[in-house]
Symmetry: C2
Subunit: 191 residues, 2 copies
Amino acid sequence: MTPERYATIKRVLDQRQPDLTVITDEVHKGRNLSAIMRNCDAVGIDCMHCVVPQRGFRNFRGTDLGTHKWVDAEVYDSIDQPIDKLQKQGFQVVAAHLSDDAVDYREVDYTKPTALLMGTEKEGVSSEALAAADTHVTIPMVGMVESFNVSVACAIILVEAQRQRQLAGLYNTSRMDPDRYRTRLFRWCQP
Amino acid sequence: MTPERYATIKRVLDQRQPDLTVITDEVHKGRNLSAIMRNCDAVGIDCMHCVVPQRGFRNFRGTDLGTHKWVDAEVYDSIDQPIDKLQKQGFQVVAAHLSDDAVDYREVDYTKPTALLMGTEKEGVSSEALAAADTHVTIPMVGMVESFNVSVACAIILVEAQRQRQLAGLYNTSRMDPDRYRTRLFRWCQP
Ligand SMILES: C[S@@+](CC[C@H](N)C(=O)[O-])C[C@H]1O[C@@H](n2cnc3c(N)ncnc32)[C@H](O)[C@@H]1O
Ligand SMILES: C[S@@+](CC[C@H](N)C(=O)[O-])C[C@H]1O[C@@H](n2cnc3c(N)ncnc32)[C@H](O)[C@@H]1O
């Protein structure tokens, strides 16, 4: 490992945001999950939370989630589990959802501990998850197609969260739990 | 056709932005081109400009570009053609590119006539296109992976353009050429 690579790894770990995450509610296409992970990495998310449809479970673990090196994925089989767990840890759950009573996604304060909840490709966020979420946000659209691709919508909202957090100085000091930091550092330095 | 559907079509056409477009520089994966089109539709782009790699040409016309109903695609075989054409029409060409001398994508004024140039999946924007572009913009990232998926990056920048144009009132009056408007209206009303 070159000193430059080591410095990059440390710089990235120093900017990880332990209080920002994504929950996917039965997003099932491997390429969408992979793209969402890539978005998570880009804004400093260390771990995402995926509710995986029963049938797809085995498939995902290996190919898309388990093998990804930079972002961890915790897998659940029902949506109440990650919502409940994160809310108990003080996270607000923000559901990305296309409805008239959702607010513009730029109106939310993402400097608070936040879990962004994304819905499945066809049906969107389940009614159970909508009821449990703290806020519903929407990205305004002016076209004929009614929604963005789920990984695209996820990125648009995460980049706004990143912008707010950058302004608030949340990327300026290392905020990850020291044990977790050391574990990641060790794993990422493996070839 | 229901009166509601007709009203939706007219509302969408009334918000189309004749002076906003996307150029793709050999983006070749069908699903990326489709996702980029979906982004274009969402922010009111009527027509995009695609440089298609020689070999892929026949493939795209049918499956991804030609059949899309809401956004037109003009196809070229070299990048200087759409850049030259659009610059002569008064468009600024803004290349999305990961480099140190690129500016933050939020610093550009997208209320001017703008063509957003996206690079190919592996190599990014060609050096020829970078030289011809008026500005290079970048979306800041803090992770290990060095880039976003191309359709994701495209959406992030287009949504910023949309935000600026909404503030400037550019969605408030119909701005499309009347002949083109009538042609679209007729086509979109076909079952
Ligand atoms: C392809 S969309 C699902 C569309 C589904 N027909 C619906 O009405 O919810 C998949 C997910 O992407 C997110 N999404 C897509 N476009 C969005 C938008 N404009 N605003 C907020 N979230 C969006 C939502 O989380 C949604 O559940
Ligand atoms: C997958 S990237 C290509 C990466 C390529 N290795 C490079 O260095 O350009 C495909 C295209 O997405 C756009 N893109 C991806 N991430 C971006 C970012 N953070 N800022 C600006 N454009 C980006 C650019 O247009 C790029 O050419």
